[in-house]
């Protein structure tokens, strides 16, 4: 079969899927399987942390003191709140409260953006003080401190990337709710975008104490 034929067949399949057949169970299982691969990805990050903190306990203790707990806690509450409003938006859509659902989704997106803006200022402050991988100030510090900040930037960076992807998914879901593509009783995309957003929240629930509270 030529590539164009495969493409045409896939396209026809997609089309049929949209027109006639909805498989919420399969969609959800598929989403969860994807989330499992994400869990495995972040598990690698957490194992890296466990090994590093066991190797450099004292230096991790000092380095974590450099981070602002208040900012970390604030961002935790921001993400928890956005998770609440995303979850509520699903109920609102199911009940047919479209305007309320849209408001909740826009608020969630605003929370996600707030998280990123706070993260931006946090990173900027660290960069200004030379605390970045390869930065003058950091390179002069003991290797355990360098490890901590290497972990800090890699883990929060990977997490921020997931926040950005989650925001895009939420934006698409918002448009789908607005255009009535997500109807009450058939909220597949919104639910899956919500699941992804909760995963982003879950990762932060673990990262926050590991980075900010080991002091």
């Amino acid at each position: 079969m030529s590539t164009t034929a495969i493409h045409a067949a896939e396209h026809a399949g997609e089309h049929a899927g949209h027109e006639e057949h909805v498989d919420p169970v399969g969609t959800k299982i598929g989403m969860w399987l994807f989330l499992y691969t994400e869990v495995m990805l972040f598990m690698g990050v957490f194992i890296w942390y466990a090994q590093s903190v066991a190797t450099y306990p004292l230096q991790f203790h000092h380095a974590a003191g450099e981070l602002n707990t208040l900012i970390g806690a604030f961002n935790t509450l921001v993400l928890l709140t956005s998770s609440l409003t995303v979850a509520m938006s699903i109920t609102a859509t199911q009940r047919g409260h479209k305007k309320f659902a849209l408001g909740l989704l826009l608020f969630s997106i605003l929370c996600g953006l707030t998280f990123l803006v706070v993260k931006y200022f946090e990173w900027s402050a660290k960069f200004e003080h030379g605390y970045y991988p390869g930065g003058e100030h950091l390179m002069a510090m003991p290797v355990g401190i360098q490890t901590f900040f290497g972990f800090y930037f890699a883990a929060t960076g990977l997490h921020a990337l997931h926040v950005i992807l989650g925001l895009i998914a939420l934006l698409v879901a918002t448009v789908m709710v607005a255009k009535d593509i997500n109807k009450p009783g058939q909220v597949g995309f919104l639910e899956n975008a919500g699941l992804y957003w909760h995963l982003v929240d879950l990762v932060w629930i673990y990262l926050f104490p590991l980075l900010y509270l080991v002091t």
């Binding site: 959800k28 869990v39 598990m43 066991a54 979850a87 104490p209 509270l213 080991v214």
Partner: protein, 105 residues
């Protein structure tokens, strides 16, 4: 909450059960309190290992609430919960195996 639960059993289509706003808000309040608790717990001087273990314990309680209620696993059908169980077994297996390798290296 019971109402929503009953719905979850009635329909295999998970899109058809409603979890009430009140349930969600209660869970959110609990999560906020637990966040405060983990910040306070970090100020206690229990030794670094105990502090990390305590923080991870609180984080796991929070994760459990998010997974079961916000992510609807509590209301989902059995197959999906069985899938979750497989995930937990995998994590609970891999992490100690890795850490034991590190500890006895």
């Amino acid at each position: 909450m019971d109402h929503a639960h009953a719905h979850g059993h009635d329909h295999h289509d998970e899109g058809n059960h409603f979890v009430t706003y009140t349930t969600y808000i209660q869970i959110w309040l609990t999560l906020c309190v637990l966040t405060g608790l983990t910040v306070v717990a970090a100020t206690l001087d229990l030794g670094q290992t105990s502090n990390v273990v305590l923080a991870m314990f609180i984080a796991t309680v929070k994760a459990g609430l998010v997974i079961s209620v916000f992510m609807h696993v509590k209301y989902d059908w059995g197959f999906l919960r069985a899938m979750m169980f497989v995930l937990f077994i995998t994590i609970a297996g891999i992490i100690p195996l890795y850490l034991s390798d590190f500890a006895w290296r």
